[in-house]
Symmetry: C2
Subunit: 257 residues, 2 copies
């Protein structure tokens, strides 16, 4: 054991966005994975680009204490997890999958970074919440040590809490981005540059640091301004899908006044 | 006329959020309104707090070249506008109201700041787009001079463009905030602090400075991950309204893949 930072013997399983971004972050933090476990061409390339050993099976690796599964949610199951040595901790990185999916009476965990990860965009993990789950304090301690090498925001969440956090993330990130998309289309149809909305988008995201979303709500639906809403609905007549979204969200805001 | 900055003889009409925020911004920029026109108690207080003259009618004021109407959309009409001297420019500040609402063959305009304005929160107008419309170059020049005293982002938009910009603003601000509200409720039900979403909200708003919203789209609906979407819909069974919003936005994203 080193004095300041404990080196953890861990390996990353997979080769997609999450594997790439996590491996990058760990390497930058000086927590070097012992290798990448993958059978795909993409995995071979990832290991090569990061200058890490490539494992084709868990048996090829020696003395790995922790396997971090960055694979598709559908691939997570008891049989898959059973290939790893019984004394190694096996954890997945999925928001909406319970810890129990991995079976195994013990030595399972979850290491879930709550952020939108893109393959092509490096990301600074320093303030990204890492949601951890384990079956005992000892396992959680190992995950905490690893997580704290890349982030200062570590949270212990159970599977129900993590699933709600993931679902909330869909609303505040995926659905929010789709609202940006609609805004883009509406402006584009009138030849107005999308960057006209940049200060508003920034202020809207910023406001909720100081106000609850309930108190930060503004707009025609919040004011109950039927005239403006009717005009907007009329304006959306060539976009029935956007019109429907406008009606449903406006009604929901009106009911929540 | 002063050398660097031309002083404009203008007055503000109204006493709500827009009147308050604009008057504040003009005063900070050294473009002091000649007065506040209002008949309400609130208007009296606003004029007093800003140390400006209060006018009860346009006739009480002398030599005003520009009246900025910060009043309710519903109150904007030809009769209302006709009370102002014919040689003064009269402009409204509404996103979804055409310039033609003010009647008057000439000397009408629009001065629309595209931002979410709260009565209690001061705002830095420096980067806020001010959307201007006028009937001739001379009037637009006056509006430009006034706008450039508070912002560096001045845009000439016609009434159709401005209405689309306002509608787009509803999507990227009001509806986005409502998505934050739903995220808050979902986390709250599991005892998880809303601040867990702060980095994700920031990154989502930040991403579209570099990527189009179409290219920035991520999440289960974008990937077509039916398993996760089914889980989320099941999880939302106690919130039928949120469940409906989830389904409609997910389907829209899937169709737009």
């Amino acid at each position: 054991m080193q004095s300041a930072k404990e080196i953890i013997n861990f390996a990353i399983v997979g080769s997609g966005h999450v594997a790439t971004r996590l491996a990058d972050a760990f390497i930058s933090a000086g927590q070097i994975p012992k290798g990448i476990l993958s059978n795909s061409e993409q995995g071979k390339e990832l290991a090569k680009s990061l200058n890490l050993p490539l494992f084709k099976s868990p048996q090829e690796a020696k003395n790995i204490d922790l396997w971090i599964l960055c694979i598709k949610d559908d691939a997570l199951n008891e049989e898959y997890a059973s290939q790893f040595p019984k004394d190694a901790l096996v954890c997945h990185t999925a928001g909406s999958v319970p810890i129990s999916i991995l079976g195994r009476k013990n030595k399972t965990g979850v290491f879930y970074p709550l952020q939108t990860l893109s393959k092509d965009k490096k990301i600074d993990f320093a303030n990204i919440p890492i949601c951890l789950e384990g079956q005992n304090d000892e396992d959680i301690e190992v995950l905490k040590k690893l997580a704290s090498s890349i982030s200062s925001d570590i949270r212990i969440l159970n599977s129900d809490q993590r699933m709600s956090a993931h679902l909330a993330a869909v609303f505040v990130s995926n659905f929010v981005n789709y609202c940006y998309h609609i805004g883009f289309d509406l402006l584009d149809s009138q030849g107005v540059d999308f960057n006209i909305l940049a200060p508003l988008i920034e202020e809207t995201a910023n406001k909720i640091k100081y106000l609850s979303p309930q108190n930060a709500q503004t707009g025609p639906a919040k004011r109950g301004d039927q005239n403006i809403m009717e005009k907007h609905i009329e304006l959306l007549k060539s976009w029935p899908e956007y019109q429907n979204i406008y009606k449903i969200l406006s009604h929901a805001i009106e009911r929540n006044k």
